[in-house]
Amino acid sequence: MDKLVIVGSGASGVHFALSVLKKGYEVVMLDVGYENPELVNVNPEDTFNDLKKNMNDPISYFLGENYESIIYPDDKSEYYGIPPSKNFVFLKPTGFDFQSKGFAPLFSFARGGLAEAWTGGVYPFNDHELSDFPFNYSEIEPYYSEVADRIGIVGVQDDLARLYPFHENILEPISLDQHSQLLLTAYEEHKEYLNNNLKCYVGRSRISVLSRDRDERKGCSYTGRCLWGCPKQSLYVPSLTLNECRKYSNFTYIPNTYITHFRFNSKRHITSVVGHSTNNGKSLEFPVDRLILAAGTLSSSKIFMDSIYKSTGEIIRLHGLMDNRQILVPFLNLKMMGKSFKPETYQYHQIVLGIEGGRLEENIHGQVTTLKTSLIHPIIQNMPFDLKTSIFVFRNIHAALGVVNVNLHDRRREENFITIEVNQGTANAKLVINYSAAHGEKALIDESIKKVKKVLWKLGCIAPAKMIHIRPMGASVHYSGTIPMSLTKKEYTASQYCQSHDFDNLYFVDGTTLPFLPAKNLTFTLMANSVRVADCAF
C-alpha cells in the first residue's frame, strides 16, 4: 500500500486520516500543530460564573495575560472576540507572510485547525446546492452519516429538513434555552405566514455536541463555557479525532513541521514534501507516495503555487477564491425584556432560520444565537447611550438579546484570485490575496437584511438598523474554490475524488476543491467529503 502523507490536522485532514488508517494505510501527518495550552487551576465542573468566583485570577483567564481579548472602541469593533484560551488557534509560524486586498483572512496552524474555535454548526448541502459538484446528495449522504456517528451531532427532523437534509446518526437534542424556546414557539404561531410569504423555515440547529456521554466525552452539562473551551469534550473539536488517529500503530504524527512546498519529477509525480522545523528552523524533507493537502484552502493553495514556482520559476494565479459574506443582525425580543438570563446553558446558537430565495444565490442561512454567557463590554460600548445608561439598559435586555449570523453564498469569479509574491533574498514567498465583492452584492445584502428583519418582527423581535454589522470578507473563514472539482480535465482543477489534474499523486481534502459555496457553513461537508475521497479513491 502507498505511504500517505497528509499536510494539516484540521477537520478534513483528521477525518480523511481516520478513514485511511482503518483501511490499513501507513499515514504520516505533518503539521505545525500549535497546541491548546494546558490550563491549570481550571475546574472542569465549574460553570462560567463559578470560574469568576473560584479562580485566583479570573481576569487573566477571561481577558488574557496582556488583556488582549478586550475589544476597545474603534470603527472596526466586532461584537465578540476570541478568548485567550483560543489564541493558539491563530498563531502563525515565523516566515509566514501574506498580503490581502478586499479580504481579511484568518489562518490557523493549530492542532485541529480553525475548527478548534468553531461554534459547531453542521449543515449538510442539499441537492440544489450540490448541483455544481460532480456528485449529488445521495452519494455524499453516507459520509455525512458516518461523520455524524464519529463526532456526535444533535438535532431534530423539523421544518428545516427541506433545506438541511436529515441524515442518519443524529442524536436527541440538548436542552433549549428559554429565549430560543420562545422564538420557536413564536415560529409555530406564525408558521403559515413565514413559510408562505417569506419562504422562511425555522428549526433546531444541528450542532456537533453530545447530548449523552460517549466514551471519554461527556454529554453537555450546560456550564456555559463553550467559547472558552468545553471542559467535558461535549463540543466536538478535530483534535479529538487526531487523538483517535494517534492510537493507530500505522499513524505517525509529526508536529512542529511547517511544509512549504513539494518536489516533483518530469512526469509531474510528487516525490517529497519540504519544509522546516518550527522549533529550530532545520530543513526537513519527507518522501511521498501520495500527498494529501489538508492545510486549508489558502495554505494548501500556497503550497501548490510555491511548488510550481520553486521547480519552474513560474508564478501562477489560482482564481475563484470564495467565502461566505456574513452579516450580524442583533435583535431584541420584547417578551424577554426585564428577565434574568440563565448562565447554565449551551452558549452557542440553537436555532436556525433558512430563507429560500427565488434563486440559489438568494438563499439565506441564519444562525440565531441568543445571548447568554459572553463578554458584554463589546456590546455595551456599541449601544447608543453613555456607558452608565448602556449598562442599565443592557442589564434589563441581556436575556432579550440575540444575533442572527446571516450567511450568504459565493461563486467562483475570475477576478478573485490568490498568487504568491517572491522577494529576492527571502526563502519564503508571500501569499497574495485579491478579492472583490460580486456586482450586485450590496443589493443582495440589503434585500437579505430586509428579509431577516421581517422574519424577526414576526417572531416578536426588533432589529435596530444601526447595530447591523456587515463583517469584512474573509471573516467567516469558509475559504474554498481555488482548485475546483471538475469532470473536465483542466489545469488547476481536481477530479471528482479531489485528485489533482496537474499532479497524479496529489489530493486536496479541504475546501480547495469546492466548485460552489452555498449560504451554509461548509465544515461538515468538508469532513464528509474527505471521508468520501478516502472511501472512493483509496
Binding site: 469568576k52 476597545y72 472602541p73 434574568s340 445608561t389 442589564r395
Partner: protein
C-alpha cells in the same frame, strides 16, 4: 509604574467604578485596572489636550463623569476616556462579586421598566444638551490651541 501614576489610576478606578455600578472596587480590581494600563499602549499614549482634559473633568465628581460619559458617547467614541471605561467594564464583568451586578436585571414589571427606560433616555438627552453647552466649547478651545502650537 511610579507612585503618582499609580495613585492617579487608583483614584480614577474608584471614581469610575462607583459611577458605573455604585460599588467601590476591591484591591483585585484596582490591581487589574493598573495592569490593564501597563499592558495596553493605547491607554498610555500621551493623551492630547482634550483627552486629558476630559479625564480630569470626569474625576471631579459623578455629575461631571456623567457629563463626559454622555459627551464622548456621541462626539468622541474612540476617546481615551471611553477606552478606560471599557477596560474597567471588561474587568468588572470578569470577576466576582462585581459581575453579579452586570449580570442581573432590575426585575421590575414591564410597565415600570419601560418608564425607567424612558426616564433614562430623557436624562441622556438632557445631559447630552448640557454637555454640548459645557464641553463642546472646551473642545473647540483645545483644538484651536493645538493648531496654534503646531503653527
Amino acid at each position: 509604574m511610579n507612585n503618582v501614576l499609580q495613585d492617579s489610576l487608583n483614584e480614577e478606578c474608584t471614581i469610575f467604578c462607583r459611577y458605573l455600578i455604585n460599588q467601590t472596587p476591591n484591591s483585585y480590581v484596582l490591581k487589574k485596572y493598573k495592569e490593564g494600563h501597563e499592558a495596553t499602549p493605547a491607554l498610555n499614549i500621551g493623551a492630547d489636550d482634550f483627552d486629558g482634559l476630559l479625564i480630569k473633568i470626569a474625576k471631579i465628581r459623578p455629575f461631571f463623569t456623567k457629563l463626559v460619559d454622555t459627551f464622548t458617547a456621541v462626539f468622541s467614541k474612540y476617546s481615551l476616556f471611553r477606552k478606560k471605561m471599557v477596560l474597567l467594564i471588561a474587568i468588572l464583568e470578569s470577576c466576582n462579586p462585581m459581575h453579579q451586578y452586570l449580570d442581573s436585571a432590575d426585575m421590575s414589571i414591564r410597565p415600570v421598566l419601560l418608564i425607567k427606560m424612558i426616564y433614562k433616555g430623557l436624562l441622556f438627552i438632557f445631559t447630552l444638551l448640557l454637555s454640548i453647552i459645557i464641553i463642546l466649547p472646551l473642545r473647540i478651545m483645545t483644538s484651536t490651541h493645538a493648531k496654534k502650537s503646531n503653527g
